[in-house]
Symmetry: C2
Subunit: 349 residues, 2 copies
């Protein structure tokens, strides 16, 4: 009660305690069962009896790394225990088969950026058996390459805007007056003159004239700049949500997690939040969403030509296989960066 021996406040543990903790965590990840002192003691490199392990476990429990479901059961890692485990994990290497799987995928993938990202998310979830998340960053900073107003019919026009990052956005206009082809063409010309080279963050000077073309230009610019800062253009691709069903016990947990995944905005903000806090793994309550308190989330930022371009992530139970999952996420993120970056081809073959 009074004096503790060596490391009081530091989060560093005794070598032996660390070994024990790691043994408990990895065995629990394997078996999903409470881990007892004897199986830890027999676990290879601990030359010490179960009794000793036990007393160390008591201490680890007092310090919050382990917990006991009930008196006569083994120990389970707490979030803090997992955290220690993850922090002291050396970077894993991917199996050769998986490396090949990734390379093959990126060698053969076709289609537009969105298609590639969607398939990437499927790949990642198949590789890991966890639910995967691929987030493509907003194009708020991309400049406009082209803006064109297309006449659907007299009362419906479509503003089609192409950005320098290759994204295309459409906005419907429904003016109260009739519009003909020529008016559209003229509006397109003025829009191009006005918008090309600007970003969505640039303020532009719209014409104040009262004619129809000016009116359309104003409407178009307004529609374009009206992007909700929330829906912001991030695209999210979620793959393998069926894995949620086998990652968690308890239907209620499954429902909660699925229900979070349905809200893409939440997912985006979770990932963004982790990136901004510099976290690559969020364990249990660390992610800030109560319904996800039995989940762990792994993210790996994707950086293309030095710029943040999004992230890939994995969501699994706290008892997930961190090393494998982190290695997979990392590898896929690097491949993505290479695929879209620099001198490489942009999307299509």
């Amino acid at each position: 009660m009074a004096r503790r021996a060596t490391k009081p406040a530091s989060d560093d543990l005794d070598v032996r305690k660390a070994t024990i903790l790691e043994a408990v965590v990895s065995e629990h990840i394997d078996t999903n069962q409470p881990v007892g002192s004897s199986s830890v003691a027999s676990s290879a490199d601990i030359g010490v009896s179960p009794a000793t392990v036990r007393s160390e476990m008591v201490s680890l429990e007092r310090e919050g790394y382990l917990a006991q479901p009930h008196t006569s059961a083994g120990r389970i890692p707490t979030d803090k225990g997992y955290r220690y485990f993850v922090d002291h994990l050396e970077n894993g290497v991917l199996g050769v088969a998986q490396q090949h799987q990734i390379s093959d995928f990126f060698a053969n993938v076709r289609g537009e950026v969105e298609d590639v990202l969607e398939q990437t998310s499927t790949l990642l979830s198949q590789m890991t058996s966890y639910t995967s998340v691929v987030v493509a960053a907003t194009h708020a900073h991309a400049s406009i390459l082209s803006a064109q107003l297309v006449n659907i019919d007299a009362h419906h026009q479509l503003l089609v805007t192409v950005f320098s990052d290759g994204s295309v956005v459409k906005h419907s206009l429904t003016p109260s007056f009739d519009v003909d082809y020529e008016t559209c063409a003229e509006t397109s010309r003025q829009l191009n003159a006005l918008l090309i080279g600007t970003t969505l963050e640039t303020a532009v000077q719209v014409p104040s004239r009262q004619d129809h073309v000016a009116q359309l230009v104003r409407d178009a610019v307004a529609a374009l700049h009206a992007q909700q800062p929330t829906a912001d253009g991030e695209k999210v691709f979620i793959g393998g949500s069926s894995h949620v069903a086998d990652s968690f016990d308890g239907v209620e947990t499954v429902r909660k997690v699925l229900s979070i995944l349905e809200q893409e905005l939440l997912v985006v903000s979770l990932v963004q939040d982790m990136l901004s806090r510099g976290l690559s793994v969020a364990i249990g309550t660390e992610n800030g969403f109560e319904p996800l308190s039995t989940c762990a989330v792994i993210v790996a930022p994707v950086t293309i030509d030095g710029l943040p371009a999004g992230a890939v992530g994995l969501l699994g139970p706290t008892r997930m296989k961190y090393q494998e999952a982190m290695a997979a996420a990392g590898a896929v993120s690097r491949h993505l960066a290479r695929h879209f970056g620099g001198d490489e081809e942009h999307a299509n073959h």
Copy 2:
């Protein structure tokens, strides 16, 4: 064994049998429990004793409408039993609250078609507590209003095509030669001359010259016409997949169903198949996918200005609340048609 009394082959039942069957089905839908003879007997308008009900049930079981989990349990409807029930359901009316919910939604909804459909799917799943599916038909028959080649950089061009149904499609081109702005503009002009007014099913005569512009035109047309007939442009929006978790007992079933839902092509073909067979409800094995054999699927086609434009659907357990669900799907489908059809506004306000 020899003679049966009245209706031998017809799928029509005795009035009393029908009443009993309906009582069993609706009580089982309410309780998710096998239904016994006595609770059917006491169920209102059957002026008959449990014993009589029992002997009728034996006969219903022989004819395949009911099944018994085990000897001393009540009866459960078979798929055939549900089918009879559904076929003899008079059209339900939606609750006032729900009618309001739908009207409010469509009065306030903003954004492009895709956004509206996505939100519609969320609406439908929230109203019914089932997983919803919204399918927007392909634009194979829509004609091209505009085709433009935009220069991303010297080696990357984006072909942006606008169709008469308001859809916008992009295709990346990566020619092996450098392309400048003027080449792009000229290509765009030729593409427009060539493509405007055609559909993707129209064959077009591409130029056979060897200059860069002609090359680009050929590439662009090829990319445009290369649409997989499968991925065909149908958009699918799935809402409320978390409801899968509380619709089914058994993690394995949940996993299977989610895993089907992940494969959008499967979902589309399921819906298309049902539409082409003129089915509005597929119960259990009727839907043709083994993993969905404990599911029922409801679809309601969406017809805009007389043309098939897609469908809305609901997926739940075979013991779903058919009347409510069908009413909801029907109402939403009608509102969608009105929202996008005729003189109404196209998408935006």
